[in-house]
């Protein structure tokens, strides 16, 4: 298992996955930073929560996070699909279940990296702007909920990138469903049916009313994730290599 994880990390070295993730995450911070400067000029209180966090999260949870998930998982699947290296990989003495798990863990690791990166650059931005004490515990809680609520997207995109050899399928699912999410999030009743809204609603609960459904949302998110990973796992074990 350890070797398989190392192999996956080794393969990442020559790709631009980490670079793309970093750039997209920093784009989100840029907007928050811009907002925060505006907030300081207006002498508003709670600049950190109201402007820096709110501004970054508005674009991060709406666009950046779903698109990072899509790109990372689709690219990691494409590494094997493109040269059909499944043939070599799976004919070696490796357990298929472990290969699948290693792919999942590394993919989720990069998504987690994006969260951690955003957390730290937000801190740095807050220090450089000289904002009041940063609510660390509150931030950790928000980021944790954000990670859990995005699991549904991760599961669906992960399933589609290994279930189909064409990279277009996960791309279209990931991007096509991210596009109306802000629109659906405006509706108080229907957002619960749309997993792409969960990160938006959970990270910006100043703006969107969760209507006491936050626990239900997390349960749905985690069960979608487990279900799609499990179905993917069953299909992966019986996958033909040719």
């Amino acid at each position: 298992m350890k070797v398989l994880l190392q192999v996956e990390l080794y393969k990442l070295k020559r790709t631009k996955i980490i670079l793309i993730t970093t750039i997209l995450t920093l784009l989100a911070l840029y907007q928050g930073y811009d907002f925060a400067k505006m907030g300081i000029e207006e002498k508003a209180d709670e600049v950190f929560r109201g402007f820096l966090y709110q501004g970054s999260m508005a674009v991060y949870s709406w666009l950046v996070l779903p698109l990072i998930i899509t790109i990372v998982l689709a690219m990691m699947a494409r590494m094997e699909h493109s040269n059909n290296s499944w043939k070599q990989f799976l004919s070696m003495p490796v357990e298929r279940g472990k290969v699948y798990l290693a792919k999942l863990l590394v993919g989720m690791g990069i998504i987690l990296y994006s969260h951690v990166l955003l957390y730290f650059v937000m801190m740095i931005a807050a220090y450089s702007l000289g904002l009041d004490p940063i609510p660390q515990v509150w931030m950790l809680k928000r980021f944790g909920i954000l990670l859990l609520s995005s699991l549904a997207i991760t599961g669906i995109v992960f399933y589609s990138s290994y279930g189909f050899t064409h990279f277009g399928v996960p791309m279209v699912i990931g991007a096509g469903l991210a596009f109306p999410s802000m629109f659906v999030a405006n509706s108080e009743k229907y957002w619960i049916f749309y997993p792409w809204d969960y990160p938006i609603v959970s990270s910006m609960n100043h703006v969107f009313d969760m209507g006491g459904k936050n626990v239900i949302m997390l349960i749905i998110s985690i069960s979608i994730f487990l279900l799609s990973v499990f179905i993917g796992f069953v299909r992966f074990r019986t996958k033909d290599v040719l």
Binding site: V59, I71, R78, F167, M171, V172, A175, G176, F179, F183
Partner: protein, 248 residues
Amino acid sequence: MKLATLFWLELYKQKKGWIWLFLLIIPAGTTLAMFLDFSIRYDYLLDTAQPGYSSWDLLLLENHRILGWGMFLPMFIGIIYALLYQVEETQNSWKQILCLPVRRESVYFSKFLVGLSLSAVLILLNMLGLVLVGWIMGFPEKVEWSSYFSYVGKQILMILAISSIHNWLSSIFKNMIIPIAIAFAGVILSSFVIFSFSEGAKLYPYAFTFFTDGLVYNEITEVIRNNFILMILFLGIGMWQFKRKDIL
């Protein structure tokens, strides 16, 4: 003559591909979203509308600004071009095509034209979906075909720059996810370029399609000029590079 043949050849190659499904699913999704939106809050939209806007104008603005069609269109165009080039990369069929007695410029230009036509189909289907929503909802006014067709025409005009950029990007990368990732980044950036630097948005190709609604933004001559300049620039760069492409 050769160009026309190449054009049909490109479409023929896509016959068994996913691109047709993509061209149908996205407009179907927008139509469904608009239908739900109007069946839930048509009265509210009518109450809060600016005076002088008809139901059709409201529908167009909801689609363009609230749903975000105007902002996300460049992303879909990026995906269309990536799918067009993916056909060659998977089987590495550049070898066969570029060994035929056709000019490389024609091959490159035919890809550009096919992508442009497919994007036009996408835009047209989105508009027809809106008309369908209005018809089902039974809007009191008659269909405003003239403003809807000018909406379609303006969008097709405004995607010229972004199409030539993505034709170029898709032709230089072997990994088709990278041009799509660039399109994603472009759209994310455009969400704040438009609202924070509205002057800069006139030079930023990913934001051009946002100015096509015809109701809020009417001054678009400058954008159209920049659009044409960028299109010619990137077509030139792309052709220059494509002529030097190695095939192996």
